[in-house]
Amino acid sequence: MTNQPENQEPLQDETTSDISRRELARLLGAATALASTLGIVFEDVAAQVANVDQVKANLYLLPADGDEKKRVLLASVTLSPEAKAKLMAAPNATIQTQFIGVKDGKEQQLRFMDKSKGAGKTSAKVVEQLKQ
């Protein structure tokens, strides 16, 4: 059973086995209406980075329950002005974190590796009155 009202067109496009265009338009309409009325704005990394003097990358150890309040700072790296400029120039790039072990002067990638989306988007609710 679907949650679609009976008097409406089917969710599924009969010809393509996909979401019907009507539902896609409805999805767009709902997302757009929510975004505009909740005041959700997207700020890309480039814009955020441009407004700060320095960019630091913090590495945290999270406890087993994932509670960020109990995280432990392992290291903090301050990006050079050149690295900051590169970050601004590639707002949609992915930042990869690698853990490298060094033994007898030789580097070896450790097994745990995490990829984190660098550019991502930060949402914020902005409520303000604007002149029409």
Binding site: T2, N3, Q4, P5, E6, L11, Q12, S17, D18, I19, R21, E23, L24, A25, R26, L27, L28, G29, A30, A31, T32, A33, L34, A35, S36, T37, L38, G39, I40, V41, F42, E43, D44, A47, T122, S123, A124, K125, V126, V127, E128, Q129, L130, K131, Q132
Partner: protein
């Protein structure tokens, strides 16, 4: 990227004070958006269905208050002031501040230029936080958070759909009514609730919070249906 013309340089502890004398000057020529909770609350406060409220007091499918009164007044402004003051939207509560509530819980505020003839009186005896606390905005922010979660879900569905489209060759281009974007039928909350409950043979709850819960349930169930289709 959308950029705000306001400078959000006030923190909750910043000195601030404002006494509104209900002159109504600020209630003209504004752009006040209405989130679902605000729409539902205003409609209930006026004893209207959401459909009736949308029809009488909003534009853009219920997403913005209508300013079509004398000299561009809000349609809710009457001779003796706001006819929905107890249920006024978040933007009206924050006025003359704009609020920026980032996902990490931090809040920053900006001063909005008041109407030149406003009778409101500014001061600095209190703080921004004290002014905000008096506006009872907690239910608005809580409701926003819940609808934001739904928004994230819908955005995820769109991303999945569009990602799949990018890999599928189709002779017929995707024709969507993007200009103007379609108004959302989901914003007529009462219509959604009636349909949702009718199909399940249940009564519509009485409290505003329960009605919002149900509205979110209906939208989330719809999103689940769409997700199942995308999983195929």
């Amino acid at each position: 990227m959308k950029t705000s013309p306001l400078s959000y340089d006030l923190a909750p502890e910043s000195p601030f004070g404002y006494a509104c004398h209900r002159c109504g000057k600020c209630c003209h020529h504004q752009r006040i958006t209405l989130a679902p909770y605000e729409l539902l609350r205003l409609a209930r406060g006026l004893g209207l269905s959401t459909g009736e409220f949308i029809e009488r007091h909003t534009v853009a499918g219920g997403t913005r208050l209508r300013f079509d009164g004398p000299a561009g007044a809000c349609s809710l402004l009457k001779e003796n002031g706001c006819s929905a003051h107890a249920d006024r939207p978040l933007a009206c509560r924050l006025y003359p501040l704009g609020g920026r509530f980032v996902s990490d819980g931090q809040a920053r505020f900006a001063q909005i230029t008041p109407h030149p003839e406003s009778a409101g009186v500014y001061g600095d005896a209190g703080t921004v936080g004290e002014f905000i606390a008096a506006q009872e905005i907690a239910p608005f922010l809580e409701a926003s958070s819940r609808y934001e979660a739904l928004f994230d879900r819908l955005l995820g569905l769109l991303a999945r759909y569009l990602g799949r489209q990018a890999t599928v060759s189709t002779e017929e281009p995707l024709a969507l009514p993007l200009d103007p974007l379609p108004a959302s039928s989901w914003f007529d909350i009462d219509a959604v609730l009636i349909e949702w409950r009718t199909r399940r043979g249940l009564a519509i709850p009485e409290t505003l919070e329960a009605q919002m819960d149900l509205h979110l349930s209906a939208m989330n169930a719809w999103a689940e249906d769409l997700a199942r289709l995308l999983d195929r």
